[in-house]
Symmetry: C2
Subunit: 221 residues, 2 copies
DNA sequence: AGTACCCTTACGGCTTATCGTAAAGCAAAA
DNA sequence: TTTTGCTTTACGATAAGCCGTAAGGGTACT
């Protein structure tokens, strides 16, 4: 089993819960931080001291408070760590269950495990740790189909851009103007209407509000 | 200090974290449940056995799963317990920080403490327990102004309901119909328009799409 | 060139949303 | 009871969204 791990999780209660679970797994050195910057510094120092961490368990979202942070999210932390310490095992532990997000974490940063915070989250986390220790990637059942490219709708960058602008409160007219100014084609109101109509059909949405809400649920925007 | 307490919290990790904190407080009998119905049954049985719980620490929102539950939320649990066991101390521990909600929990059900799940949530929870043990009500700083009736610009359950229906793709007409069918007042199209207009202003949203997107970002829906 | 095809754009009708104003309903205070 | 103030409802005008049809503009192939 791992001997030295780091927990990065802003919420004290969850952090403590994870700690208790790791203890039961027989891990000896367990360190805890509530800020991403602290996580980075601890990992950096451990490396310099010649006693590096073997495993990082990190949340994705960290609430901001009065402490200024260079690294503001778990995703940034993962990217940074992956760059400088490619060998370290990383497990993300988050309430986030958006497939797109999970997929990008795996493909872009090569995390070793992803566990959803659910009722049985801790059980899964212990399973994930054992699995990752044996070099087998682990995904929670909720997101295990993230790597399965079958259910890919034909959503492209233009669609995402469109939905983003829509969710920011721009009218279709505004978006048309914005697109033509920024040389994004097609830019006409009619084309935008057409594309949105297609998206509504694809996502089985009744109207634009429903469409944007669905896109947010799916993690597209 | 209390000698017998119950923790009702669906998330395993948080439940475990609370448990560890209570242990450090020197509480001897700490029981844990992940479902509201279990909490009720345990409390009922303890009463019948003549060894009642002195303190209940409960979450407010419990995710539904395959297990059918009669009591579906922390609020319902609190109402039930208050009715049957008026002398039991109750502390709500939730991420919810809507003043209106906290206020109603205090005034309607007379809970003894309310602690927000934040970074330092556990520290506050231990403070709350000590305070409640000495019969002094406790409120997290985030909501300590809940009893101060100055703040009126609040989002209430009606607003949430409205935003939810909107995000599900119903038109304002549909919602009006739905509300009158389900006896939710006010239900007229005009009132719905007015309320949405107020919400748009409160959230600085350009239109309904923007409003729903913002509400989703804030986790209101 | 011609034509076949697809993507883009334009426009008109119809529906829904947004906004202002005003009337009706209701309850507490005078 | 009347007055007063607030909430809810009604309605009309303008704007935005939705939908079908058709015209314009490329590109590739014959």
């Amino acid at each position: 089993m791992f001997t030295k791990t780091l927990i990065a999780e802003d919420m004290q209660d969850i952090n403590k819960g994870i700690h208790a679970a790791l203890c039961e797994l027989g891990i000896k050195e367990i360190h805890q931080v509530q800020y991403c910057d602290d996580a980075y510094l601890k990992i950096k120092k451990a490396e310099l001291d010649g006693v590096p961490y073997e495993l990082l368990i990190t949340d994705l979202s960290f609430k901001r408070d009065w402490r200024e942070q260079k690294i503001r999210s778990g995703e940034e932390l993962i990217r940074t760590i992956r760059n400088e310490f490619p060998e370290m095992k990383i497990i993300a532990y988050s309430i986030e269950d958006r497939i797109q997000k999970v997929r990008s974490l795996i493909t872009s940063y090569g995390i070793n495990g992803y566990v959803c915070k659910t009722r049985r989250g801790l059980v899964e986390l212990t399973n994930a740790i054992s699995s990752v220790f044996e070099n087998i990637p682990y995904l929670s059942p909720e997101v295990s189909h993230a790597l399965n490219p079958t259910n890919d709708l034909e959503i492209n960058d233009y669609d995402i851009l469109l939905l983003e602008q829509l969710s920011k409160g721009l009218s279709q007219d505004d978006i048309s103007l914005y697109f033509s100014k920024n040389n994004i084609k097609p830019s006409s109101l009619s084309s935008i209407e057409k594309r949105l109509n297609k998206l509504r059909i694809d996502f089985k949405a009744n109207n634009a509000i429903h469409l944007v809400a669905t896109a947010k649920d799916l993690g597209l925007i």
